[in-house]
Amino acid sequence: MDVDEVNERAGPREFGPHDDLPREYREAATRMIQFHANSEIMGAYLEKPFIRQAPSLDRKLALSAKVQDEIGHGQLLYRAAESLGVKTRDEMLTELAEGEGKFLNCFHYEMDEWWETPMIAFFVDGAAMRRQATLKRTSWEPYAHAMDKICFEEGFHVKHGEDIMKELATGSKKEREKLQEAFDEWWPRIIQFFGPTDDQSTHHDFAADVGLKTMTNDDLRNAFIDAYVPKAKKYGLEIPDEPRIRERDDGTYEVVEDDLDWSEFFAIAKNDYDPGKEQIGGRRRAQEAVEWVREALDDHETRTRGREPQAAD
């Protein structure tokens, strides 16, 4: 199949591993799914400390399950990416460890305290949900298939995130203040989640043409603002003055670009932002520390190949 034919046939779940797809398609899909998978892993990395710091046993269990789900999503997505035949999972995990793998802007920031957790678990996950729901109709079938499970589980995560937020929003004065502080800090990053309004993404057109992406960042941002500004207000949060958000006559929103720090955003996009680099490095060191286990497993597999069935884990 050449690119023209791909463009012509592009539609929801249209292509799978049995199709002979052009390199351009396979690379674009790999880039997109790898980014998504990396984001699952780095999001989990950011939330992990709050398993320990959760202020109740039930919250602890829910956080542990959430972090586990995110790793499971990473596993599914790497598999969906691997099926394109461009990179292996090991290669993608190595790229992530070495700071070459890209991932969501919000996961490059530090998260220090419990009251920040709804910023990820409610707002960022909520934003991600909107994007992910559209990906159930992406043209790479294994990706769409992974989305079915991921969206189902993310629904629970967002509910739990909202529950944590509600608890803080209806809690003591200190809790409400801490929640507002966290919101002030995270809101611009959350808006930037969708990229610049005039969409400088060079990858978009092709990805849209071949049915990998089904909605533009602008449309997604509008839908997010439409849904989440009222939700934030419902929990007593004041929307920060900046970035200024103006409603247009057609009901869509304009975000005043100059109110956002785009040099930081583009540094993050290049994995060149200090807190994010720390997080990448922390994960890399942890991975290197267990390299010996992977080597021992490889040895074991070589020795026992064909002699006994392997356990799944």
Binding site: S64, D163, A296
Partner: protein, 279 residues
């Protein structure tokens, strides 16, 4: 008797039941807390998911046992978040920290603990307290998978020279702490626990049964127990946990666990799941 009604328990009986529940609940909570350290940093995505499962099982078990203590009048806050860390009863095997990358520790610790867990749960199946007995079967079903997981990892790692060396190092360090699983919280109370039929077997018995399982298996994969066979208890560490003596690491861990609760000035904990049932 259908409930652990405090009015139905004599003073000594209540103390014995409480000590037994603290042993169970604190072990599960603290070990699970340590296991979660491996989330996102386990050797492979698959092993990450598997150990997270085990951690959540143990947290669920902790919840079951703390729930029985709640029926005796304590709140979760009192049992975990506002409890003096120097009052916890878990074995020090649960609290000692993992060194970064020491997956051998996680495997050995899991194995030593899960076999012990099986021995003690068996001895609780016919507990004179039906509510304890009722919850045992729920827990045992999951523990079988934990043992299989641990044995499988031991076999795979022990087949590799470097892996076996690391396992032996972990075993040498952890074995004394594992022995604390079988220490009494208090001699008199322990006598009551067995005498009143709350647990059907004594701790020495359980330790022998445990040794009879772990020793041959570990030997079969090329590992040896660091102990005097005539006096297995002679290797106890300085802090044994059960009697409320702990390593410094436990106090740090408790401090981290309770950080948010204290920082927000909370006085109670949030329940988001239904209270466990006895069915």
């Amino acid at each position: 008797m259908t409930a652990l009604d405090p009015d139905d328990l004599s003073g000594d009986e209540r103390t014995a039941v409480e000590h037994l529940l603290y042993r169970l609940a604190d072990d599960e909570l603290v070990l699970a807390e340590r296991y979660t350290e491996w989330q996102v940093t386990a050797p492979t995505l698959e092993s990450d998911l598997a150990l997270a499962n085990i951690a959540q099982d143990e947290l669920g078990h902790a919840r079951l046992w703390y729930d029985l203590l709640q029926d005796l009048g304590y709140s979760e806050s009192e049992l975990i978040y506002e409890r003096d860390p120097g009052e916890f009863r878990h074995a020090t095997l649960a609290e000692v920290p993992f060194e970064e990358g020491d997956w051998a520790d996680a495997v050995v610790r899991g194995y030593l603990y899960d076999v012990a867990e099986n021995c003690r749960l068996e001895a609780l199946e016919n507990s004179a307290h039906p509510r304890i007995a009722n919850r045992v079967s729920k827990v045992r079903g999951e523990e079988e998978y934990h043992r299989e997981h641990a044995r499988n990892w031991l076999e795979r790692l022990a087949g590799d020279e470097d892996g076996r060396r690391r396992l032996q190092t972990a075993l040498d360090r952890l074995f004394p702490h594992a022995l604390t699983l079988f220490e009494p919280t208090d001699e008199t109370v322990e006598d009551d626990i067995v005498g009143m039929g709350i647990r059907r077997r004594g701790l020495d018995d359980l330790r022998e049964e445990w040794l009879a399982t772990v020793e041959p298996f570990l030997e079969s994969v090329g590992l040896r127990l660091p102990m005097d066979p005539d006096d297995p208890a002679d290797r106890l560490p300085d802090a044994v946990g059960r009697d409320r003596s702990h390593t410094d690491d436990w106090f740090d861990l408790h401090d981290e666990m309770t950080h948010t609760y204290r920082e927000l000035g909370r006085t109670e904990t949030t329940r988001i799941m239904d209270k466990p049932t006895d069915e």
